[in-house]
């Protein structure tokens, strides 16, 4: 399972990179990307609290970042 998963991710990653000619914006079209609400993790404390809560209630962790952890709610 994990090997398939890795391969898929790599393929998607590579296709993202190689498809760049049509993707992306010019530097002066970054107005929307510059907004706080468009940052990948625009509310880091909220994410940290959520990660911690879900880490203590669910078996999965991480994904967006390293996530959860650091607590004995094992």
């Amino acid at each position: 399972m994990s090997i398939t998963l890795k391969c898929c991710a790599l393929l998607v990653g590579i296709s993202l990179l190689s498809g760049c000619s049509s993707l992306g914006v010019k530097p002066w079209e970054r107005d929307l990307m510059a907004k706080k609400s468009m940052q990948p993790n625009s509310y880091p404390l909220e994410s940290a609290i959520d990660d911690h809560t879900y880490f203590s209630k669910e078996a999965s962790a991480g994904g967006r970042g390293f996530g959860g952890g650091g607590c004995g709610c094992n």
Binding site: L16, E46, A48, S56, E58, G62, G69, G70, N74
Partner: protein
């Protein structure tokens, strides 16, 4: 003129150069303030179970040259009662608390809750992030977390590199964490019987530890002016003590009634039989996260999916959707829906059957040697979790925002016992968990 491939490229190149001039100069004038981000979360489970109060404050400052120093302090105070792993029975159940002194009783038909559950956690994190050449940013961080029975220390490092005119960012991160568990009343031997009164078999004053390593490989891609997408692949392994020293499993007779401890003498004679939690000493997990931010005319959609799998047999899917509705006056409302579903770990058991294997396998110290691992921790069972939330935020100025969010989380499991276990008839063996979280956030600069 190497740039003049297209006739209008001077205009485009000048637009780029001028916007970088203005952005850079804007930065040059700024006095760099401390950016303060603070939040307070109150988490409360229904049926007077766990209540948690978690304040966090994070500080960030540009120390010049875009080198960011970050400090974060988290406090976390838990009170209430937590399930100890045993299931509800058709009789009252009494347990000795982990400290070996007090005891608690679950009434007939109710899931036993450990009322000694109480904890305060304090964590400090420090981070440093800086440019490395024109295209890279590197960051390092450390984190120490302490509660009375648990200490954790972690180090992390990451590098992010830009490609394609900064439309693509590749990032790679490493996190290493070491945990020390110093359980109240000592660390019990796995799958041994829970004793009545202080447990002389517990490793005296012993502590156990665990090491966790994670790697994260991420691609962030600006798809167009409105759409940012992110794909992360995470791989993690941990080794060491993974069991929960406070959790037990009920041992049931074939009719579903509670078994009696096989002890032939001493205080455990004729007591009910519970075995301590036992988990493998390693775990390896992978996850794939796909996040998207889509900017409509004014509003922003945040939608993500995560697939998670580990070698304990747990697979999970998480879907998360947020819609940020900008309703003017720098205010927004953000409804949030999250759906989570996981399969059970291979060694998850709602309870253990007092079968032939278990009976014959019990050794002199009461350990069920025929079983390697077993846990009744509901976190490792099969369930579905749904979250509904609503957030309101108002931007009060540059880097200044107030927001409040209310969410409800519900965990539903269908785990139960077969009809042949007549003693369990009519009992809710896997009651829903419902929790409310109120989160207040305020960020500002000074």
């Amino acid at each position: 003129m190497q740039l003049i491939n297209k006739p209008n490229s001077v205009r485009l190149a000048l637009a780029a150069a001028s916007s970088s001039l203005l952005a850079g100069a804007a930065h040059a004038e700024e006095k760099t303030p401390w950016l303060v981000d603070s939040a307070l979360a109150v988490y409360s489970e229904s049926d007077s179970r766990v209540t948690a109060v978690e304040p966090i404050v994070a500080l960030r400052k540009d120390m010049g040259g875009d080198r960011m120093l970050g400090l974060k302090l988290t406090l976390d105070s838990l009170t209430g009662a937590s399930p100890n792993g045993a299931i509800a029975a058709n009789e009252a159940q009494t347990f000795t608390g982990p400290s070996g002194n007090g005891s608690y009783t679950a009434p007939k038909g109710e899931t036993p809750l450990d009322t000694e559950f109480k904890d305060t956690r304090a964590a400090v994190a420090i981070s440093w992030e800086q440019p490395w050449g024109e295209r890279n940013r590197v960051s390092v961080g450390g984190n120490i977390s302490r509660e009375y029975d648990f200490t954790s220390a972690a180090l992390s490092a990451a590098i992010a590199r830009d490609f394609n005119n900064k439309n693509t960012t590749l990032s790679f991160g490493v996190n290493v964490e070491t945990d020390i568990i110093d359980a109240v009343g000592g660390i019990p031997d796995p799958l041994t019987s829970l004793k009545v009164g202080p447990n002389p078999d517990h490793k005296d004053g012993g502590s156990e530890n665990k090491t966790v390593s994670d790697l994260l490989l991420g691609v962030t891609q600006v798809m167009n002016r409105h759409w940012l997408t992110q794909l992360n692949l995470s791989v993690g392994t941990s080794s060491g003590y993974h069991s929960d020293p406070y959790k037990v499993l009920s041992v049931l007779n074939t009719d579903g009634s509670l078994s009696t401890n096989p002890a032939t003498s001493g205080p455990d004679l004729n007591s009910k039989w519970y075995l301590y939690d036992s988990r493998p000493d390693s775990r390896s997990r992978q996850s794939l996260y796909w996040g998207n931010k889509i900017h409509l005319t004014e509003d922003v959609i945040d939608v993500s999916y995560r697939y998670y799998t580990d070698d304990w047999g747990i697979d999970s899917h998480t879907l998360d959707f947020r819609y940020r509705y900008e309703f003017g006056g720098n205010m927004y409302l953000e409804p949030h829906v999250r759906w989570y579903s996981q399969t059970a770990a291979d060694f998850y058991h709602l309870y253990l059957n007092k079968g032939v294997a278990l009976d014959n396998g019990v050794n002199s110290s009461g350990a069920a040697s025929a079983l390697d691992y077993a846990s009744a921790d509901s976190r490792l069972g099969e369930f579905t979790g749904t979250t509904f939330g609503l957030k309101y935020g108002i931007e009060l100025g540059r880097n200044t925002e107030f927001n409040i969010r209310v969410e409800q989380y519900q965990q539903t499991s269908n785990a139960g016992a077969p009809a042949s276990m007549t003693a369990l008839k009519g009992l809710d063996l896997s009651p829903d968990l419902t929790a409310m979280t109120v989160l207040v956030g305020y960020s500002f600069e000074f």
